[in-house]
């Protein structure tokens, strides 16, 4: 004899499957969109930063120092199309800590800036020094200076 078994209808089953698939789709879609946008923003920012770094043009045009006071003056020329700032100076790989002028100041495009600082090393007549300056966006420029 045939037994009668009861269960949910095909309509309910289809609806439930539809709900499950739809909710999974929404989760995956929202995650994908969010992640893609985050990655896009990351790469846009990185490209902008790298472009700016590549386009920055700065050079040290002159340096002079005092052997008595160990004060050093460096003249920086910005020949790029963007304004810049010098935020760090090194003398023979020693970090300069004391500045008198010119640090963290805006250097306009095609502008000059004199940076004055206390040398972390004694300035000796006839000695050669390597001056490294670092711009706000992290580009370094070096200059060999012979006193």
């Amino acid at each position: 004899m045939m037994r009668k078994r009861r269960g949910i209808s095909e309509l309910y089953a289809s609806l439930m499957l539809l709900i499950i698939v739809s909710s999974m789709g929404v989760v995956i879609y929202s995650y994908t969109v969010e992640t893609t946008l985050s990655y896009e923003q990351y790469f846009v920012e990185k490209e902008a930063r790298d472009s700016k770094r590549a386009l920055e043009r700065v050079s040290i045009v002159n340096a002079y120092g005092n052997t008595l006071s160990d004060n050093v003056n460096v003249t920086v020329y910005n020949y790029g199309e963007f304004d810049t700032e010098i935020i760090e100076v090194y003398l023979n790989d020693e970090l300069v800590n004391t500045f008198f002028a010119g640090i963290d100041e805006n250097i306009e495009s095609l502008g000059l800036m004199e940076i004055s600082f206390q040398s972390p090393l004694p300035i000796i007549e006839g000695e050669q020094y390597t001056i490294i300056i670092v711009s706000r966006i992290g580009v370094t420029y070096s200059y060999i200076w012979k006193k």
Partner: protein, 132 residues
Amino acid sequence: MEKRKAISAYIAVLFLVGLAVAGGVLLYSSMIGALSGINTNEMPQTLSLDTVKVVNATTCVAYVRNVGSESVTIDQAYIDDSPATSVDSVTISPESLETVRIRGTFVVGTTYDFKIVAKDLTQLVFSAKASF
């Protein structure tokens, strides 16, 4: 004939809907938990070297700048592709400069290739000649 009793269709539907919702919530929370680690906060940032100096036979000092938008924690260092004896675990905030001390064995006149690696896999490669 044996008569068997079962739950009604409505209760079965409600039960299955509840099961589906609970499964969905579990799946959602586990997916979000598993995937939340993959975001731009953990994407490699940008490090820049100001300057580097081998100060003695065992220590190299690198002035490292973070030009990215998220903090970076230096985790490991390599000298000529071999792990350094040790490296300071330094966290560098965006647009900040930190001194990173890498310890190894250095011989005067030799140029060494350094690689420092952050926890988010940001890397910085540079070389320096030992001339202390």
